[in-house]
Symmetry: C2
Subunit: 306 residues, 2 copies
Amino acid sequence: MAVMFEKVAVLGLGLIGSSICLGMRENNLARVISGHAKSVETRQVARELDLVDEVHDTAIDAVKNADLVILCVPVGACGAMAKEIGPHLKSGAILTDVGSVKGAIVRDCSPHVPKSVHFIPGHPIAGTEQSGPRSGFAAVFHGKWCILTPMKGSDAQAVSTLTQFWQNLGSMVDVMDAEHHDMVLAITSHLPHLIAYTTVATAADLETVTNSEVVKYSASGFRDFTRIAASDPTMWRDVFLNNKDAVLEMLGRFSEELAVLQRAVRWGDGETLFNLFTRAREVRRGIIAAGQDTAAPDFGRGQAKS
Amino acid sequence: MAVMFEKVAVLGLGLIGSSICLGMRENNLARVISGHAKSVETRQVARELDLVDEVHDTAIDAVKNADLVILCVPVGACGAMAKEIGPHLKSGAILTDVGSVKGAIVRDCSPHVPKSVHFIPGHPIAGTEQSGPRSGFAAVFHGKWCILTPMKGSDAQAVSTLTQFWQNLGSMVDVMDAEHHDMVLAITSHLPHLIAYTTVATAADLETVTNSEVVKYSASGFRDFTRIAASDPTMWRDVFLNNKDAVLEMLGRFSEELAVLQRAVRWGDGETLFNLFTRAREVRRGIIAAGQDTAAPDFGRGQAKS
């Protein structure tokens, strides 16, 4: 594959940032990869793992002459970083990000992006519950969707180049507007995470059942919730603070559905329960048919190396 | 291993019933395994897969002369089955079950069990989201807990024999009273399933996000919920109808926790969100340390055969 960019700057070297670096190396997408991380420790790990060609102490130094700049920091930190690097971006460069919220990114970053720079927000629907520079791996993007949310007037050629970049990392690319993205992710990702966190907190606070019992018998369902509740707390705090309206909308609908089920339990309405459970089963079948999850029972846990 | 029982009767040949049959065969635990299933189709599959030595059209025929009788039917069907087979149970036999609720099983079955029979309710914390006679496999019990809830006055020797039986199938055995079991399972299993069903239903009913988008982007969290929401609807309807008080208690606590998080989202209270997310992460670590889930990122999905 021909080198796509002379220089790519990755700002933030956690799970996603480090995975992008590894994917670029594997596919020879950049002549030079420059990286920056806020913490000294992460920068040290980046050197140790040889994630990038240049490790910089500041974002400004990292983005100099870069043709593609990727913000891989928590959503709440993107605005300040855009403000910091804005004046130092190369004319004609592409600026993108990987945040789980897009409306707030547009709101916070746009004012700081020079007109000569192509700002195209993005979101790879990929990752694991782990975090930090050691958790990255190139295959995390393979077969996963990446959503781009170009703005009105975005340069078509730049969108096409960024699309090609994600495809070269192994992803499939979709384009939609930021507002719709935030609604889609509120239901597919943000609500499930909030519910998982709530379930884990509920279990941790019981007086009648000990925490060790919860752990011991967690294979009966609870443990599935703990995986996504193990995701990075800073990242998720920022997601909820920055996609408030869509999350509250989904929470309202969830609470209505829950009230219906709670009433059915209270009044012994087996038919309502049975019908809803049957519908839910169909959704799972759709996900497996679409190749978006393994068909192996129990996620194939039995076969997994642990 | 010496044969434990001359004859074992398994009533109901779904995921758990068929797995018990396969486990008994693998470990040579019964000289003769007799089986019964309500549906003609399941009985046919049992013959085809050679799950049992004798397939019977009625439960009464299956339990004749059996030293151990295991009810593997949905919780709501156990009482009627106990009533049917009660007069035909061998004196000195052990009667047990595998239901996810124990108080209701005691309530529904006890009146029909002759004094000469040892009735010891049980619950293997094992299974997958699949169901039916073809979904069973002996390893499903390996390393999993099985909870026995003997009643006051249960024969210690019979409890010990049943304990040995489950250990021979590869399980670890715990003993507790039925009421505590129902509280423990309400939080570790019943609440997570109800929440998962609710989340899937909420997503399925949106006007602003299409079902195909939900499926397409489900890897961002939602798909984890769909696995447990794919479990057998009849079994789960019966669980909720028969563990009402404990489930409503847990639902009440869940709703309180959710209200706290919802308020934090609405008012932008990042500290509350961050602190709760950090606590939840610790619970996951406890589960992995206890060997109750794989430490592999994303449940090791990448490595699983699908």
